[in-house]
Amino acid sequence: MSMEVNKDDNMVSDMILIVDDDEINRGIIDNIFSPYYSTDEAADGLEGLSKILADPDKYCAILLDVMMPKMNGLEVLRKLSDEELTSRIPVFLITAEVNSESLHEAYHLGVMDVILKPVTPYIVLRRINSIVELFRARKRLGNRVERQNIKLLENAKKIIELNQGMIEALSTAIEFRNGESGEHVRRIRDITQYLLEHTELGEGLTAEQINNIALASVMHDVGKIAIPDNILGKPGRLTPEEFEIMKTHTVQGGLLLEKIPQLRDNGVYEYAFDIARHHHERWDGRGYPDGLKGDEISLWAQIVSIADVYDALSCKRCYKDAFPREKVLRMIRDGECGTFSPKLLKCFFEAEETLCKLYDGNA
């Protein structure tokens, strides 16, 4: 903590720039401030302005005489105001006389205070100290808030990554039960995301929605945790009774997701529930569990459905070997493994050239 405070302080300058064309005036002011600040001097407005513009953060305050050759104090002030520097560095006018018109303009341009010559050291020091301290405190606070914001964002990102990790871990654990490696859920996520990002299927969806759908797709089979081992791991064809039990993984998945309160508050939930329950519906209405037909089935459930079929056909499963790519594509096209919307099929075959690379290791 103490190091952080030092870091803040290091970012705050302690140098005062004295801009006055008279050496004696500069010397007097220098003498007042040098015990507390480092000082720099400029002998006219132009020199002062170029020193400031060269490195504005070098100075914690600028003391500006008004009547000076080359460029007077008000002109310097106007330039500083144009550059929006008067809100970053406190500027003080130190002048032998003031008229109300130039005073008005000076304050309008953002001058912090106007101090009359001849200066009274105690007063000038007090007035300038308090404003410099105010600017320093404001800057320190700004730096700290900024760093805290960065930290909060980093933490939020970590939490999101952890959430995704937990969701993948849960889904993968369930995969393990039917002897799959966990690569299946990751490929379903990749295929879903690819179809949404690279085909017309994703039109009208925001990047956040697409990410949520992709994450939700990971959870499509969580209901399988409720399916007994002897059915889930059966090497051959299921009996009609066994198949009825197997089919309940869709409804069970929805029920399970419903019971995670943290998930229900998350943007992923609606998609996850829908996908878990409906990824075995069919375009022709002959799927399960609800027999939804056509566009009654959500886009994301349709996409996960075709991704699931494609992946199952392309890989070895406990009940089948991996099929060659040509056979997989023919079976999908001929509707041997479900029916899909024409638009979905069109987009899928478009994307498949790329998607097949996911299976290079299996080929």
Partner: protein, 116 residues
């Protein structure tokens, strides 16, 4: 500061007590800045500007000199210069110029006192 020196400066129209307060009571520092005064170019600039009838340059020099005198508590001189600046600002160039003999006298007395 020695009494003699103090009286010498006071007699030339310098409010030493006021000036010392501006230098945090540091008499050596006040002396150091007083010693710079004879080398300050603004009096010379003022005379030259009036010679050339350059009202603007005269005002600038008079104004700056007034600031210096104020800071060094040269009450008499700074009073005269304040008056002159006011005349310049009011466009009363000749009235301003007419103040020069008084200003010169006060200036020379001040410089003489400083140089001891």
């Amino acid at each position: 500061m020695e009494q003699v020196r103090l009286e010498q400066l006071e007699s030339a129209g310098i409010d030493v007590k006021d000036a010392l307060s501006r230098f945090m009571g540091n008499a050596n520092l006040l002396e150091k800045f007083l010693k710079k005064f004879p080398d300050d170019q603004n009096y010379k600039k003022l005379c030259e500007a009036l010679e050339a009838d350059d009202a603007e340059a005269a005002l600038a020099a008079s104004h700056t000199l007034k600031g210096v005198c104020g800071n060094l508590s040269m009450t008499e001189l700074s009073g005269l210069l304040t008056e002159q600046v006011r005349e310049f600002r009011a466009g009363e160039y000749s009235s301003a110029k007419e103040l020069m003999p008084k200003i010169t006298a006060a200036y020379e007395r001040t410089v003489a006192a400083i140089n001891g």
